[in-house]
């Protein structure tokens, strides 16, 4: 009886030796991504792409930079824009419930991707609270869907 107990204890001890594989251990929440710079939305092979530019140079507004399109280097990396050059200058006004993005070209000529670029740059998806975006052009002003970008 006593010997049996001893065997069990020894077996238990040796089984618990060393480092055993474990279950998944939960830690803290994933660290937030600090977007330190200018955040613009361009297209990469037709996919809405978030671009963070180091804010080295002073600039007027993200929408102005967006209207200027990708830099040469960004173009080499495959980034494109569907916002027509005629859309510049682009301005933005806001009240309590809506953000109005005003462009200088007709809204009807904007592609869906171009609208998404404008919406996401004006009101990024991580901004709280989300507000209604309205794109206003010389021809019309249209409320658009919220930014569809998902990282």
């Amino acid at each position: 009886m006593k010997r049996l107990l001893l065997c069990a204890v020894v077996a238990l001890l040796t089984a618990g030796c060393g480092i055993r594989p474990s279950d998944v251990i939960h830690g803290v929440e994933a660290p937030k991504e600090e977007l330190d710079g200018v955040v613009l939305f361009f297209l990469n092979a037709g996919t809405l792409t978030r671009v963070v530019r180091p804010s080295a140079e002073p600039f007027e507004h993200e929408l102005t930079l967006l209207a200027e399109g990708p830099t040469q280097r960004e173009q080499r990396e495959g980034l494109t824009t569907e916002i027509p050059p005629a859309a510049a200058p682009i301005t933005q006004t806001a009240d309590a419930m809506t953000v109005t993005v005003s462009i200088s070209s007709p809204v009807a000529e904007l592609s869906e991707n171009a609208k998404d670029q404008l919406t996401c740059t004006a009101v990024p998806p991580w901004q709280e609270p989300q507000v209604q975006v309205v794109i206003a052009g010389p021809d019309q002003s249209t409320p658009v869907d919220a930014c569809p970008f998902a990282a």
């Binding site: 006593k2 001893l6 204890v9 020894v10 001890l13 618990g16 030796c17 060393g18 480092i19 055993r20 594989p21 474990s22 279950d23 998944v24 251990i25 939960h26 830690g27 803290v28 929440e29 994933a30 660290p31 937030k32 991504e33 600090e34 977007l35 330190d36 710079g37 990469n44 996919t47 792409t49 978030r50 671009v51 963070v52 990396e77 495959g78 991580w126 998902a150 990282a151």
Partner: protein
Amino acid sequence: MTRWWGLQSRLLVAFAALVVLTAVAVAGAMYAQARTEILQRSQDAAVESLLDDLESAYPVPRMPPTEPEMSVLAERLSERTIAVTVNYGDQWVGDLDRSLVSPELSATVAEGIVAWQRVDAMDRPVLVIGTRVGNSQLRVYAARDLWPEESSIAAMASRVWLIAGAALVAAMLLALLAARGVLRPVHELRQAAARLGSGDLTARVTPQGSDELADVATTFNETAAALQNQVGELTRMEAEARRFVVDVSHELRTPLAAMTAVTDVLDEEADSLTPDAAQAARLVSQETRNLTNLVNDLIEITRFDSGRATLVTDDLNVPDVVRATLRTRGWTTEVQTELPETVVAQLDPRRLDVIVANLVGNALSHGEPPVTLTLRDSPDVFTITVTDEGPGLPPEVLPHVFSRFYKADTARTRSAGSSGLGLAIARENAHLHGGTLTAANRPTGGAVFTLRLPKGQPR
């Protein structure tokens, strides 16, 4: 003498069990604690360094990231890890084996929680840490080798085993010492008790220390001393009683001798007395003879008791002695005999005569005729059986038939001429020859006394 399950082995086993249990409990608990701590510390450090590296790599310039960007990120994170993989959707970039990332881990990481898991990779413990980058679908998994921790834990375990083993050996030695300390007095006590049991009343033990065993030893000594005193007292009293009997017997002899002379004269003169006086004279004469027999028997039995009885042996023909006994007592006609011609034995003729006379006299006075005496010869011993045709001995009498002064019938006075010592003396004589005398009942009724005596020199 060592017993398999003696005190020593029990002590050893108990000590060993105690040490093993204590060592297992203490070392096991400490080992588990230390292992958890080592692992926790290194895991936390690994997680922290990964998160630090990750944060220094922020922000990811493109989202969704391009493959070159993912490799750049993997490259930056791989400095302090053994393998890294960066995952976005279906894209996996990096050198970490994807099979090490368990579905549970990736599910937890997808919920936005930093998570880690220990897995076995090629028999080496590996820590796989996973985290999401910000709020995106970009996930990073990094593996860290736990081999250094494993080896330090193994070193700790072997030290624990070593110490436990040393403790076990020390405990065994202690147990042996303790067992020896307990067993030595016990052994001594046993020897003393054995000596006491075999009659050495002076046996004592030396009590050592002041423990329970010393108490036992003291008690043993006191008991032995008390026993010695009592036995000494009893021996002294018995010796006194015996001496008293001897003295009384000897004191009675002289007056009895005188009385016998007087009663002899009275017997001769009885015819010339009046019938009443003659009867009284014969009665006195008879009782005087009985008393003389009793005194002689008493003296004889005290000789046996004091060990002063000696054999005066001679080579003789047993049938001749038996015939002489019967003839002297005048029993030749009353006793049927079956005697071989010659049975030569070396024994004391006077004592054989006493035995045979007692057996035959007993049969004649207590049993019914015919009384038969049979002598049988065999190589080393001869047997004499005396049987009668009476009712035999009652079962309750049988064990006491050789006891001194035992009365078969308490209501009855002793039969005339019997001292009550005859059979006891007969048996003592048989024993003195190295033989036996037994009494029994025959199946057909009647008592049978069997005497077996060796033919050679006794002892």
